[in-house]
């Protein structure tokens, strides 16, 4: 009995300073592999790239300080503006289409019908396909001459199908169509949000005489707005950095008349094709600023349209 009482007393005694220090030391030691990796592989390159953005640097020789010349040159570089234009097209046109479609599909998949789990799996499945495989698949599907989509187009509409990735006018719409293949992630988030909307709110709205459209507008949309907010931010950040699919579709180039020269592709070309690491670093920092600015803007706008229950 006496032993049990003593051990209880020890357990409830305040942890000594030495013990706390030792715990901290052990904690830091456990975190050290991550900290070393984070500092050397993330923080240092980040700071170094900021310095390089003010230099002319080709990897082989020591960088030459040229002040803000890289930034000044960017402003006069038409391809920089082309790449920004191409990227913003995807943000402004592509993201709304993706989110609206993901929401509509989530609405459909929220219904209680037999085999719904199978349908959900089918919609989600493409998101686990490797990007190289899906890009090559879509290159074939959207081939203007022997692609099955244009085959159906020609036979149904009796007119020549779009040029898709082969023409400047259709290249970005084709990228958006290809992006719709991967709406599974957004759909899952919307679906989870939809399932969290309390049924009694719909009942109350119905009693008040709200029709289906009004219930969707006044009940569903406000209550899933945190999910929409999250998806909007992550989609904007991802789309501003679009690279792999465009690189594969355009074989590392900019596509027809640079219609697929997205910002990250042009950044890559400058860094690794032309060895203009300083210029590419300046591009990376501008992209970082744009992403921060847009994220803050969305956060600020969120105060007006995002509803957090409670």
């Amino acid at each position: 009995m006496a032993t049990i009482a003593r051990s209880r007393a020890e357990a409830s005694a305040p942890v000594s300073v030495a013990m706390r220090r030792r715990n901290t030391r052990v904690g830091v030691l456990f975190a050290l592999p991550f900290l070393i990796g984070f500092l050397t592989l993330q923080v240092y390159p980040l700071i170094a790239s900021f310095y390089y953005s003010f230099t002319q640097f080709n990897v082989f020789q020591s960088p030459i300080w040229i002040g803000g010349q890289n930034y000044a040159q960017l402003i006069h570089d038409p391809l920089f503006w082309t790449s920004l234009q191409d990227t913003f097209f995807m943000v402004v046109i592509g993201i709304p289409i993706q989110l609206v479609l993901a929401f509509l599909v989530a609405l459909l998949l929220n219904s209680k019908v037999k085999g719904i789990a199978v349908f959900r799996t089918f919609v989600y499945l493409p998101t686990v396909t490797p990007i190289v495989a899906s890009s090559l698949l879509w290159l074939w599907l959207l081939n203007p001459v022997y692609g099955p989509i244009n085959f159906v187009w020609v036979h149904l509409l009796h007119t020549q199908g779009p040029g898709w990735f082969a023409t400047a006018a259709w290249a970005k719409p084709a990228m958006i169509v290809m992006g719709l293949w991967g709406i599974g992630t957004a759909m899952i988030v919307f679906l989870a949000a939809l399932q969290g909307v309390p049924e009694q709110l719909y009942e109350a709205a119905r009693i008040d005489g709200a029709n289906g459209w009004q219930r969707a507008l006044r009940v569903t949309l406000p209550l899933i707005s945190p999910a929409t907010f999250f998806l909007l931010i992550t989609h904007v950040i991802d789309t501003l950095q679009i690279f792999a699919s465009a690189y594969i579709v355009a074989s590392g180039g900019g596509g027809p008349q640079n219609a697929l020269l997205f910002y990250a592709v042009y950044l890559y070309q400058n860094a690794f094709n032309y060895l203009k690491m300083g210029y590419a670093s300046a591009m990376a920092w501008l992209l970082f600023i744009v992403i921060v600015f847009l994220t803050l803007l969305i956060f600020r706008s969120g105060r007006r349209w995002v509803y957090y229950e409670g």
Binding site: N143, G163, A166
Partner: protein, 448 residues
């Protein structure tokens, strides 16, 4: 069971003395003090980016031959290494002794960035005769008076034409001039509501891109992209403008967007547009002969000289060459052995083995008549002969910013042929981009 009369202390002592003896023996062996002759074989690596088995085998075979003939050396081939990785290895101070680079951009960019060892001292010391090579491949490799590479193999372009379709259309011979090519193409092109099903000839088909092809057309119209004398770009020169206007008219005649849609249906291997009859004649490299062997063995075709501009008959029998080069990255531990290897690769069976594996041609002139090569195919033999007698130019000038040139020209050519920019504006813009980048590269070179 019988217990062994060994105490724990005895076992530890025995193990200790055994490991001590082993360590001492190892040290003595490594210092060459054991009385046996030391194996002083120098090992060095050769990196290349090829990853298809016939080339890997050919390179490995060549390396084995080299090693057999040089018992004091061992060259170890490493395959599938892209230029970017080689670049990072060189920047990190751990380059291989020898690397394969392509002259179209990377070679002069690496040379100007100080990543490559100049070869003039070796050429001078060994009285190495550079006249043994097809000169365009040496021009590729010289940057600011310094030789940076020896050729490994080369490619060139000629006009391929489908003899069966020519006969069906009543065409007796391939076009001599570009203007004839345009007329013939119009005669045999086919279009329906679904778009073109056949176009006689497309000037840029067969090239890696419109930018790569423009240099050839500029040359055929009497222009050039770079002045070696003034060390300046001459993209907006009047002759280049004539070339671009001709190309612009050509593509606008067919509709540049319609051509884009048509060319998007081009495949490779058996779906190659020339094999599939979608193009009736095209400018392409000698690799197409090997592709035809593999994927369309019954194709009735032949090769002919590239058509010239009727105003410039002096450019009859012209072509441009490209290829692979062997370089010695700076910072390698074994530059002398590297030089020995890259000169050896120009001798014996090596050029023939490599040409057969890579489907290109040797850059050493004496091999252009090699029977093992000329007997492969009459069309391939025609290429070899063309290199001996034709008007041969390097595809790209050796400048510090050549890697940027193809994309810049492509942007300009695309804009002009699609009508989004006038031809003079497109060339002026390309000129300004290249001048700006050249000025920056020269700023770097002026630094100590």
């Amino acid at each position: 069971m019988v217990a062994l009369p060994l105490s724990r202390r005895t076992v530890i002592k025995s193990l200790g003395s055994a490991s001590l003896s082993f360590t001492v023996a190892s040290i003595l062996a490594s210092c060459g003090l054991t009385g046996r002759p030391a194996a002083a074989k120098v090992k060095f690596e050769y990196w290349h980016s090829w990853s298809n088995p016939p080339i890997i085998t050919a390179v490995a075979g060549a390396c084995d031959q080299y090693n057999a003939q040089h018992p004091d050396q061992e060259v170890i081939p490493r395959w599938g290494i892209p230029a970017t990785r080689g670049l990072l290895a060189a920047a990190g101070g751990q380059p291989p002794a020898v690397f394969t680079l392509y002259p179209g951009g990377t070679l002069s960019a690496w040379a100007s960035n100080g990543a490559l060892r100049g070869l003039n001292e070796y050429v001078k010391a060994s009285h190495y005769d550079l006249n043994r090579f097809v000169q365009s491949q040496i021009v590729h490799a010289i940057f600011q008076g310094q030789l940076y590479a020896l050729p490994l193999g080369m490619g060139a372009y000629m006009l391929y034409y489908n003899r069966k379709i020519f006969a069906e259309e009543g065409i007796a011979s391939p076009p001599q001039t570009l203007q004839e090519a345009f007329d013939l193409s119009n005669k045999i092109s086919k279009k329906s509501t679904a778009g073109y099903s056949r176009i006689g000839f497309l000037p840029f088909s067969g090239f890696a891109g419109n930018g790569s092809g423009f240099g050839l057309y500029a040359y055929l119209f009497g222009g050039k992209l770079w002045s070696g004398k003034r060390q300046q770009f001459t993209i907006d020169a009047p002759q280049n403008l004539v070339a671009l206007k001709w190309l612009q008219e050509y593509y606008q005649h067919y509709g540049a967007t319609s051509v884009d849609e048509f060319t998007a249906g081009f495949g490779s291997q058996a779906q190659d547009p020339f094999f599939a009859g979608k193009l009736v004649f095209e400018i392409n490299g000698q690799w197409e002969v090997f592709n035809a062997h593999n994927f369309k063995p019954n194709l009735d075709y032949d090769v002919a000289p590239i058509p010239y501009d009727e105003q410039h008959p002096e450019f009859k029998n012209s072509t441009q060459t490209r290829g692979n080069s062997l370089v010695l990255p700076k910072g390698s531990m074994h530059p002398e052995h590297g030089w020995s290897f890259i000169t050896w690769m120009q001798t014996g069976d090596a050029p023939v083995i490599m040409a057969r594996a890579v489907n290109n041609m040797p850059a050493v002139k004496s091999y252009l008549t090699n029977k093992q090569l000329t007997s492969i195919d009459p069309r391939y033999a025609h290429f070899l002969e063309y290199l001996r007698s034709g008007n041969i130019q390097p595809q790209w000038p050796a400048t510090p910013v050549t890697s940027l040139l193809a994309n810049t020209l492509q942007t300009g050519v695309d804009a002009a042929t699609h009508g989004s920019e006038t031809a003079p504006a497109a060339l002026a813009h390309a000129q300004s981009v290249m001048e700006q980048n050249l000025a920056q590269a020269q700023l770097r070179q002026r630094q100590p």
